[in-house]
């Protein structure tokens, strides 16, 4: 929670790109990222996410839904990020698919929707820690 001091929280400068087409779910996801102490940047589809990534080299983690309209879904986006921006960490979520480890980009973490907010926050902190460390 905000207001509490968590010694493990890295400096609140890590920037997380949240990609989710459903506005209310995106709002809650952005909130989760900010509650965890990070800065959230939003995209509502994969194409928009790629445009942001092309202009902002400071994104540390991409947190994306799989099921989104458009020619590129979240899984393709994740694979593209792994290919073009290898240092960026990935969190992939979906209410429809449960991808096997083989389908996922290396190092990506998957959560089924609805996800446990505390478990997702923990995963986010660990990934940011990995980047920082």
């Amino acid at each position: 929670m905000t207001g509490k001091t968590d010694v493990r929280t890295p400096p609140a400068t890590a920037i997380i790109l949240v990609v989710e087409d459903e506005p209310i779910i995106r709002l809650a996801a952005v909130d989760l990222v900010e509650e965890a102490g990070y800065i959230a940047v939003e995209a509502s589809n994969a194409a928009e996410a790629v445009r942001i990534l092309e202009t902002r080299p400071d994104i540390r983690v991409v947190f994306t839904d799989i099921d989104m309209p458009g020619s590129m879904d979240g899984m393709k986006l994740a694979l593209c990020v792994r290919d073009r921006w290898p240092p960026i960490k990935l969190i992939v979520v979906s209410g429809h698919h449960t991808p096997g480890a083989a389908d996922m980009p290396e190092g990506a973490v998957f959560f089924s929707k609805p996800y446990s907010e505390s478990a997702l926050t923990a995963a986010l902190k660990q990934l940011v820690g990995e980047v920082s460390g």
């Binding site: 929670m1 459903e22 209310i24 909130d31 209410g95 929707k113 609805p114």
Partner: protein, 381 residues
């Protein structure tokens, strides 16, 4: 009920052709002008075979001789459709030119002395001028004369197109239902995610964070139960998969064990068991065996012979945890546990010095309403 064809009323051993019957059609053919010649001169084997065909209530035909002359009985008439007027005495492969390619191999085998039988075999034909798919259950058998030589082929046949189409429609409907189920459960999960987002925003300023977390966690448990069900198109879920899905969230694999026969639960039992296990595991994590590193939970289940029917019995035993005491107030979690499996209320909780021991029982049929209990648990009886 006797169901005799109209054409086989015999008087003193002679046929009295009924109008529209195969006998009448046979009598109308100008046999003197036919390669087989007048009926009086037919070989005995042909006369007998024709009489057998005419007398049978099963639809059948006979193909005779090098000319492959076609004979059929009254029961076969509806199958001929528009070709009926020219059928009796026609050359088989000319009359059935549209179907000949698909039946020829088996027919030629019968001419060579071997019988064959087909069930629901597809035979494309153009009975009414347009190509159509038809299905038939039929057999070809050789007809031999007194010397043992094959002279003809007998075919007993029944059109099964209507049955096959009905079965295909049923299969299609089942598949559509599966697609619909899948689509629907996707929507249900979307809605659950929306509920979660709305709740986390709405309850943001609530100071009782435990209650908010309990709600969120139950919603996640319900979502996971849906995931397990989705694996089997929402029909049934493996109990092992349900147990694994719930417990891995709460404890490391070394802290719990699960043992029991594989049972497939229907959707409502899956949701019920998932929430029940979620509450037990949440409590164990807060107050019980899962709250300390060395604690264990042993989950066992069995099918017990009972009266009047078999019971599914599940036991949850905690050990190596802290000393536990019964909760002093009945929250929603305790009430969920008290409901037992599928709301049967059959729940026994013992707070023993070694840890909580809980036993739940429900009639097996209650947990598998949407399926055949015997086939689902591997019992062939």
């Amino acid at each position: 009920m006797r169901d005799g064809p109209p054409g086989n009323r015999a008087t003193m051993g002679r046929f009295q052709p009924v109008p529209g019957s195969a006998e009448e059609l046979l009598a109308a053919v100008d046999w003197d002008a036919h390669p087989l010649g007048p009926r009086s001169g037919w070989p005995a084997a042909l006369a007998v075979a024709v009489n057998i065909v005419l007398a049978s209530p099963e639809s059948m035909y006979l193909v005779w001789g090098a000319e492959r002359t076609f004979f059929f009985n009254t029961a076969y008439i509806p199958i001929l459709g528009p070709r009926l007027p020219v059928a009796m005495g026609a050359r088989f492969e000319e009359l059935w030119a549209d179907a000949w390619p698909s039946v020829a191999p088996a027919f030629l085998e019968a001419e060579a002395g071997t019988s064959t039988r087909f069930v629901d075999a597809p035979v494309p034909m153009a009975r009414y001028g347009v190509p159509e798919d038809t299905w038939w259950t039929f057999s070809f058998s050789p007809v031999r004369d007194e010397t043992g030589a094959v002279r003809g082929v007998l075919c007993m046949t029944r059109e099964t197109t209507a049955d096959v189409l009905r079965e295909q429609a049923r299969t299609r409907a089942v598949r559509q239902q599966e697609i619909l189920n899948r689509e629907l459960s996707h929507r249900v999960k979307n809605t659950m995610t929306m509920v979660q987002a709305i709740a986390s925003q709405t309850l943001k300023k609530v100071t009782e964070r435990d209650a908010v977390k309990a709600f969120q966690d139950r919603l996640v448990a319900l979502g996971k139960a849906h995931d397990v069900l989705l694996h089997n198109d929402w029909q049934a879920a493996s109990i092992t998969a349900i147990v694994e899905s719930v417990l891995t969230v709460h404890a490391g694999r070394e802290q719990w064990s699960a043992e029991g026969p594989e049972v497939f639960l229907d959707s409502s039992a899956t949701l019920s068991l998932s929430l029940l296990l979620h509450e037990l595991a949440t409590n164990a994590l807060k107050y019980g065996a899962l709250s300390v590193p060395g604690g264990h939970v042993d989950l066992r289940w069995e099918i017990a012979e009972g009266q009047p029917e078999r019971d599914f019995v599940l036991s949850w035993s905690e050990r190596d945890g802290p000393v536990v005491t019964p909760p002093d107030r009945k929250g929603f979690g305790s009430r969920l546990i008290g409901l037992g499996l599928c709301g049967t209320g059959n729940a026994e909780l013992c707070y023993e010095p070694t840890g909580l021991r809980a036993t739940f029982a429900a009639p097996l049929s209650r947990l598998m309403q949407a399926q055949d209990v015997h086939s689902a648990d591997g019992d062939p009886s």
